[in-house]
Amino acid sequence: MAQNDQALLMRLKDSGLDFVVIGGLCVVYHGVPVATFDLDICCPFGDENVRRIESAVKDLNPVHRLTANKLPMEQTRDSFKDLKNIYLQTDLGKLDCLSEVTGLGGYEQVLQQSILHSMSFGQFRMLSLNALIAAKIATGRQKDLDAVRLLSAVKEKKESQNELF
């Protein structure tokens, strides 16, 4: 099964959805080479925003990957307004959309702790290094705490070089 994060990011941006990239891809972005097999974003929810997510992936056979029967997204439109998170499997890979990040708060708080970064395929908001470390600590999971050790080393190095993060 493919996992094309760049293509998913471009589609989400084109849909008009506001979002911040969080999770493993953000860890990679900040300089820690880990393998991550899904794209995690934090975004505002509500019917309109979930429809934007749907429009971004509707031709990619999206299904709610954590439901027992892998419910197709198009069959769940009546529930869009009630969703707080969405975990999708699409033809371009796994896409997890969250309304809040543990340790940081809801989308507005996450947005305030993000940085806008320009890449050849567009401008995207990424969780700042400090916020990413705080979120990883808040989960308390061993794999996240391991990532914190490396992210803290990166932070220390960037601070010593007066780099912004």
Partner: protein, 72 residues
């Protein structure tokens, strides 16, 4: 003639950078390969994401190949 320190590095011994701070040293002593972090930090963020995509593509290909050959 290769000196002992160089030989050790050739055998995988990590040389702590002179400017390594406490967090960097702690991560290295915990067992992480900090040379990978050093290499990653030499890339731009976009290059890191592109490299990650290549790794993911390869791992998925490897996984599918293993499944096709009955590996569990």
């Amino acid at each position: 003639m290769i000196d002992a320190a160089t030989l050790a590095q050739m055998n995988g011994e990590y040389v702590m950078p002179p400017d390594a701070g406490p967090a960097w040293r702690a991560a290295a002593e915990y067992g992480f390969d900090m040379s990978l972090i050093e290499a990653s930090l030499k890339l731009t963020p976009e290059q890191r994401l592109a490299e990650h995509q290549q790794v993911i593509n390869f791992m998925i290909e490897l996984q599918e190949s293993g499944q096709a050959h009955g590996t569990k």
